[in-house]
Subunit: 214 residues, 2 copies
C-alpha cells in the first residue's frame, strides 16, 4: 500500500469556513462555536474526548474512529497549535490539548518561528519552517511507513492542495453558517477536476465529503 497524505474529519460550515474570525485563547475557532461545528463528532462513541461509555456507533462513528487508523504523523499549521502570532514570547504554550493530546504520534507544526521540540505523553511536537513538500517529507520519515494526517486549519490544507500533495480528504460540512472566517473553499466542486468526490449525508445533519485523487 502506498503511504497517503490524508485530511480526516476536517469540519467546515455550510458556507465553507473551517473557523470563524478572531481566534483567541478563549476562542480557538474565533467567533465559531466548536461544539456546534463539531457536534457530529462529539456525539459519537469514538470521540477521543468522550469520558462516558455512550455515543452513537452509526455512520459518523466510522469517520470518528478512522481518525488514527494507520496514521503515523500529523502536520498542522501554527494557528491550529496556538492563538499567538509572530515570535514566541516564551515556550510556555504547549497546545490546546492538555497533558494527553489526541494525536499519539509525532506532530509537525508549520511556523516561521522555530522552537525546540517537546513531548506530552506519546505526542511529540516538532516545529518546522519548510515548504509543504519538505514538511511532508519530514512527516513521512517520522511516520515509519504509515500515512500522514494533514490536520488543518483551512489555510494549511489550501497550501497542500495548491501544491497538489493531498491524496485523500474527508470534510464534514456542518449545517451552520459562519458568514466569515478562515475559508477552505467557495464550493467543493472546485476540487472535482483533480479528485473523485462522494457526498454522503449523515442522519446527524452533517454531509460527509470524500475526496480521493484521480
Amino acid at each position: 500500500m502506498s503511504r497517503l497524505l490524508r485530511v480526516q474529519n476536517f469540519t467546515v460550515s455550510l458556507d465553507g469556513f473551517g473557523a470563524g474570525e478572531g481566534q483567541a485563547l478563549e476562542r480557538p475557532f474565533g467567533h465559531a462555536d466548536p461544539r456546534e461545528l463539531m457536534s457530529w463528532a462529539g456525539a459519537t462513541a469514538s470521540w477521543p474526548n468522550r469520558t462516558d461509555s455512550g455515543g452513537s456507533r452509526g455512520l459518523d462513528d466510522y469517520f470518528a474512529r478512522d481518525f488514527a487508523n494507520n496514521i503515523g504523523a500529523e502536520i498542522m499549521g501554527r494557528n491550529k497549535f496556538s492563538p499567538q502570532r509572530g515570535p514566541w514570547e516564551n515556550h510556555d504554550w504547549q497546545g490546546w490539548w492538555g497533558e494527553e493530546p489526541p494525536f499519539h504520534t509525532p506532530v509537525f507544526v508549520m511556523t516561521h518561528h522555530l522552537r525546540p521540540s517537546f513531548t506530552l505523553s506519546d505526542t511529540t511536537f516538532h516545529f518546522t519552517d519548510g515548504d509543504p513538500a519538505a514538511v511532508l517529507e519530514q512527516a513521512r520519515e517520522a511516520a515509519q511507513g504509515k500515512d500522514v494526517r494533514l490536520g488543518g486549519g483551512a489555510t494549511t490544507i489550501r497550501e497542500f492542495l495548491d501544491a497538489d500533495l493531498v491524496d485523500t480528504m474527508h470534510v464534514a460540512v456542518s449545517p451552520v453558517e459562519l458568514g466569515s472566517g478562515v475559508r477552505l473553499w467557495d464550493s467543493p466542486d472546485e476540487l472535482r477536476d483533480r479528485f473523485h468526490l462522494e457526498i454522503v449525508p449523515s442522519p446527524s445533519g452533517v454531509t460527509h465529503h470524500l475526496f480521493w485523487r484521480k
Copy 2:
C-alpha cells in the same frame, strides 16, 4: 472503552441471504457468486486481496478498511471455514484463504468436531464446541483488550443475535436477489427493537446497514 463483539462487512442479498444453496469446494457461497455479492468491497482500495494500487477511497472504503481496526480475534462458523460436513476425514483442509489468511489474529471456528489448532502466517485457527457465550469468552481472552469480530456466516450471526451477544453490526445489502440460501433476516426491521439502525446508501449500489445496541 468497552470491548465489543462486532459484525463487519457482512454482505447479504436484497432478499436477506448471506450465501446461496449448495456450498461446495468450488462454490464457497453455493449458487451465489461471491464476486457479485462482494463487488462493493472488491472495488475499494483497502480490499485485502487487492494486488494493484487502484481502487476507490469513497464511502465503501471506510467500511473495508475498518475490517481490522481494533480487532483482536475472530469467531466464525464451521461453514465459513470449510465446505465439509460431519467428522473430519483428515486435517488437510486449512481454510479457503491460502498461506496468508486475511485475519491476522486468533480465529475461533465453532464446530462439534474438534481438531488441533494450527497457524498460517500470523493467523491461528482454534476449534471449539462451546455455546456462543463460552466461545465469546475464549475469543475475548485471546483478543487482549481489543474487540472481537463475528465473521459469519448468517447462521452463526443469528445464533449470537439470539443469545443477545452482538454489540454492533455492519451489514451491506447488495443489489442482487438470491431466492434461497442461508438467511440472515427477512427484514432488517426485525432488529429495531434491540438496536439503533442507520441505513446509508452508497454510490456503488449497496446499502450499508449500521446497527448498535440500544
